[in-house]
Symmetry: D3
Subunit: 341 residues, 6 copies
């Protein structure tokens, strides 16, 4: 079993109840959330040894984040604690044509203001086999970008497998660097790349395009995206292309394609007819993928498990995938949501 | 920008939580609601100068109504405050085949018991360009009917544009007059008529009928309704026919047709696959229409904006359209509910 | 109007809010629930004289159960009260592919530990015309199985009509008997049998099978199930086969077939597009059936009323069918969930 | 055991959460409440046969009131159901120097608009031994005043014991009669009078006054109030004077004096240091008194039980005394609130 | 009636429910709060023309603040809206010996980062008669300190009365200036100074000290504080010394002394035996004082009204004084919290 | 720093909201609770290495208990997981004279049905320095009694310090043994005894008695209790006598006496004027004591820290002491609940 390490920011998520607009009624539902932390919690729930690395303020909010991560079994011993503020995001849940909206309040967070030399990556990554990061972490500040690259470089040098979920939050790129330039630098260290069709272009500047609807009848078109990327970054070992077709804020379908240099496996397409919480569904896919690769290697089983993990996450409130391996496997095996008692 | 004035009753809406039957659990969710007030709040949210005219009791409930209207920027300076009671309605949310149900408790409200000579319409409507009323206000009492007609008459005389949303609440017509007779009197003052196919017959006694499904493939049939009305009331300038096809308590489609004497524009049809709150969706359409007429005149843009405003309202709890012009425009422009962050 | 008597266990149902996983947040929604109690409450709501028979602990939980049953008008005078514990079940609501899950905690309940000689069935059933029981009650303990058989035997002997809803909760069968053997013994006393296709095989060991999808185009295939059962138990007078096609945790269709020895009536099929609470929908069907038989006898009206009762229950939180005869009849008559005000 | 009958109005009570001002947040807690209904529920909880008589609307609110009363075992078979509205009251809980405030919305309720000839008192009171009414019922409308007097007259004639809790809600007396005149008429039929010092003057026009603080060191002064009343209405058999000393909205002490013509018994004084809900505490005293008179007759035990019932009510949310005889007796016996497990 | 202007920061207050520790359960209660905004809302509730001046972000949180202020009638037309973040504070309510705790998250707020030249004070204060500021505003950033001094200087020059509530939040003074130095500069422009005994020393470096208990028997000792301040700043016209004696997190007493150069008036002392929310009680005193000075001038009535406003605020959840003039006056007149109905 | 081990049962605590009676409204607040688990969580929060030993069911409730303990840093690696049920208790919060009431539902729990030979104490206690148990664990079943004695015996033999909090829950002693006999056997292994005056007699059969009020003026009388116990069990090293004087369900005072053979230290007495949650306050005292003994040895500081920990617990909802060392120390140092910001 690989021992995982994740680097990223964790935030307090504050959601208005049900489908209410933000601050419509004077109550907010709080939870802890963040792309890499979501992956860490899911893998830890699957029984994997997972360490989450971040910077937290020494106040009640920072302490609470440690306590919550510990609850799910995540190793918090590498987290730095120092003065500063805890990042936040506000969210209101969409319905039908009204989209789910996120309002970030994370600009001056502890993690954004951390300095590269506060991290001794050789020490932090000791005893770890796999390093994971998302495309959000280098976006939050110039310094966080340097920390991300440092971590990836050391991870690669120490022989860890490096995975990266390339997702772009344009609103976060405020410090003056070009995302494409940064992401292309990161690619030098990546073994496993996860991204969707849009982000291949937006994050990496790739030229190939594909229609989302191709996943239904021409999934082989998705191979072109991988081919272009494999050509530029020949050291990359696996490329996972995720596909999400949105019917409305309540319904969408999810699928993914796992590519190695020689092969591709297309997951089944899962139609979700009642989205409870869309946030964190990409992270659930990543966690499912990492778990799948460990268990069933490069295969349709693996990519289908990843997509099923993502599908199940759509039914669970909060960012975290609170589901067992068995529940996800049941969906891979064709379960239809019939009640169990 | 026209300055609007609305006359109507505002009530305390008391809803059981989620899909619970009324008083199933000992909690009620309260908000402020009423057809014309809903239109006023929406226009005011769009940045328009809007005055709401009603009668409120001088107790905590009446004061709260003023405070809530003021919150959205509605001009409350023309509201009369006097002893009496505040109207209420109870509501439980339906699902699938079980309909949403409203239990009114508004019979002896301040507004129902107001007297025509308590209103100096010349003074109240001074400085206003547009007067709006719904078919509910003349239903609540004989005296309210006279007040409604007085207001429309003075508005017309002073050169205001008069719009009327003709909707029938049969249960409210208790004071012995025939709704058709009253509504036909009102029509003498109407410039912009909004109504659905059923109410053309039920409120105005018109003879033309059309199938709701025609909106999909024979929308021109809807013209016949307008033609009949234009013939009887030649001073009417615009007739908006709204179409709502109900699949279940959770799903319906909305569309509308804008008619002038010489032209008709059919909106796109919007399918709503998860209704959060159906109440106030007609008022949202009216607000969108008035705003659209101001901005894009008689056009497909205008009627599509009106229908999009109604569609977005279906996703928002409470009677009020808590949405921005930009959010509605995004739906006109084809947004599909994909999350924004 | 027949006077009904039901025997079964009633429990405290503890549900996590909304779609949350069990204990995800520190709140549980409580209600009272149990298969036969659900039927009793529904019939009592329909204005029928209905007695519920069980054993309850003499603590606050037991007292609360009596109070809640009395609220709906159920006759609680035959309930035994003694030391012991009150059964519980925990439930989390599923969505899309994640199923609704029940965690039982009823093993050592008062009812499970009751002894056959604590019940004087001759006395208890005095003045009653109809006895109903489900397949769950004999599952909870060996002693409960004997009590169930005693009750059915005496009911039959005293001339009551005996109905039985055969449903299997495999997880409950812990005391070492074979369910099929027990259920076949029970069949000797049954006049009206209610069951679904799977349970004909699993509970009674029947050999005929039918595809759920046959209900759409070959409903006559369902007759074969009834034929096989009528052959083995010639004293049975009516067999109701229920059909539930699950699209996801949020959507399913319901239908049923009413068989007498000479005839069969197929209900309309009702598609439910937003399941609020699936638990108790079978009990609602039973209550609708018993009410229907009393009113419209063996007929399509009866089985359609039963299925409509079940359909409406899908829209109501909690186990109980909190709906009026009129609301159910409206669905039989084609109501589509359009709001009422 | 006497069989009781109570006449009065029952309302929906809508309370803002915790100590919030009315409508401060958009939630109201609902319950069922009303002076005589409170007494009925308490006596019924004590196991007494108690019928509540009122007029209810035939809508969901009226039906809910019947269901809630039935839950506590109250006989609802004498309640009239007809078109109309259900009375309401809004309440916010005070703290320290800010008082608890009630906003009534009961003016045109079913009960207020009921007519004297809708009640056949001979029939209604058949089989009853005790009739109870409060001073609120004759206040709500002229017609309700006549109904109250009719009921008392017939009760007296049929030999029932008549008790009356004289409490004045000045704000309700809107129909033009003088309360003192009405209350003095009622006194002709009263056997057991319950009132506080202020109301002896305000309701009956008596002249004797006493300081509330006398209850501590000169309780005999309270006898003067009773003496004056006994002199005017020699048929009255018992007079209970209640004493409430308010330290703040959170703290008060309660005591009472039971007078017969020849004797007086003073209860112990109970200091309440954390008032959870003050409403209904007088009704709890009445219920405790009636129960006490049945069990321990004219005695210190009786009046102490009545005061203990009132004291316990201060700790329970809602109008109803949800407490057992044993819990009240434990306080009479000196219990101090130490936890029980 | 003077027209008021307040300058300060407004924040989102996020409170854990009841007495729960911060984030103990996943719910936070939100409201809008800030020292000068609290004063503005209270004065506006009293019917006074009050403008609040601040800087708000152009996101949902900033828009919500405007909407909430408008609800209470505060003039928001002078508020600057620009990119940035909205300040927050988290709070948990203490009980007995556990104190109420505030965790600020306001460091990089819009208001803290505003620049002095963004404010045209001559224009902003046009038409205003009274300017109010607290000691918190100059603490949040160096730039906010300059803005505060600018505003006071212009206010003074334009002839407005300037009031200042000197309260020290040590934790906020992070930008390197000495609070005493800043506060002494502010004093050059102050007409009405409000402060407590500790802050006279801590904010202004005064030497006189007084025992809080002196307020009971030697209130004249409080004069010495005023005398020392009048001597240093002879242009100050009124000095209000507030006194708060804390018995526990639930109980305290409040009082205050109003000093002019020639006279002093001591308020009555109000003991609060159940604190619902202590935050904003100082701001309520200020609002009561300003209102009192307008109505009853320099007098015991004025300072007693101010203290009563503060006392009532202790009973109301949230920072705002949601109370009417009549309710406060009733406490001045000796009301004891007896319920009103 | 000693490494602690606790043996006991952990349960799901289900509480009605606020001061509501059990099941008054259909919501229960859930948390995890149990005497020794409470001590473990508190010590773990203080940064101590603490293992909790129990038996848990392999269902969602058991898994949740592990997750919750892990959240607070408790070592859960020694917990046995097997089929069975999770114990529960229901609680309603008292006020004034109405006591807090607990309804246990723990009879057939996993822990109660565990067998002595399922525990290898030599292995379980390896590496631990201190073993703690309460008087509740041997009460839950005969088998649990044997497990308790086994654990204490091995702990003693391995040289661990053994502490025992002797508290009697009479209602639990159902298996036929005499508590005094069992507790006297346990005393053979105890180093540190914690108990209150009543339990010295009820659990150990001691003869000395003392008045609770002696703690105020004759605390030396408490020495007699310790002397009697030291005489019978000369190996006991420390005896802590706890004192709780109940004024009402909302107010009480706490104090304690620490006795060694040669010395006694009396804590200060802390008056709690607003009890938020009384449950777990004894466990907080034990945790404070163990922590204090480690830090300040036998001293007034130690016993005062223990009592302060208990006092602070009274202000926190739930069984757990969610408070820091600093917060408790602040109370030892005289903090009065003044707000902190």
């Amino acid at each position: 079993m690989p021992r995982y390490a994740m680097l990223g920011e964790i935030m307090l998520r504050l959601k208005s109840p049900g489908y209410e607009r933000l601050l419509q009624s004077p109550v907010l539902e709080s939870s802890i959330a963040g792309s890499e932390a979501n992956v860490a919690v899911a893998l830890s729930t699957f029984g994997r040894d997972t360490a989450f690395i971040t910077v937290l303020p020494e106040n009640d909010l920072g302490k609470n984040a440690i306590v919550e991560l510990r609850k799910y079994g995540v190793d918090t011993s590498k987290i730095l604690v120092k003065p500063g503020r805890f990042g936040l995001y506000f969210v209101e849940m969409g319905s039908s044509h009204r989209p789910t909206r996120v309002v970030y309040d994370r600009k001056d967070s502890c993690m954004a203001e951390a300095l590269p030399d506060e991290f001794n990556w050789n020490h932090i990554l000791e005893g770890r086999d796999w390093f994971h990061i998302s495309g959000i972490t280098p976006a939050i500040s110039e310094s966080a970008m340097h920390i991300s690259l440092d971590a990836m470089k050391v991870a690669k040098r120490k022989g860890l497998t490096v995975s990266c979920d390339l997702n772009l939050r344009t609103v976060l790129w405020q410090y003056g660097c070009d995302p494409v330039e940064v992401y292309r630098k990161m690619m030098d260290y990546v073994d496993v790349l996860i991204s969707n069709e849009n982000h291949f272009a937006a994050c990496l500047g790739l030229k190939e395009r594909v229609e989302e609807s191709d996943i239904y009848n021409k999934p082989e078109n998705y191979r072109r995206l991988a081919d272009e990327a494999f050509e530029i970054w020949p050291d990359v070992k696996r490329i996972v292309t995720t596909v999400r077709r949105t019917a409305s804020a309540n319904r969408q379908s999810v699928a993914a394609v796992l590519n190695t240099k020689d092969n591709m496996w297309v997951s089944s397409i899962i139609e979700i007819d009642n989205i409870v919480d869309r946030i964190g569904t990409g992270d659930a896919l990543t966690a499912g993928l990492l778990f799948g690769l460990e268990n069933t290697g490069d295969s349709k089983e693996t990519i289908s498990f990843a997509v099923a993990a993502s599908a199940i996450k759509h039914s669970i409130p909060g960012d975290f995938l609170r589901a067992s391996i068995e529940e996800i496997q049941a969906l891979v095996d064709g379960a239809m949501g019939r009640d169990q008692r």
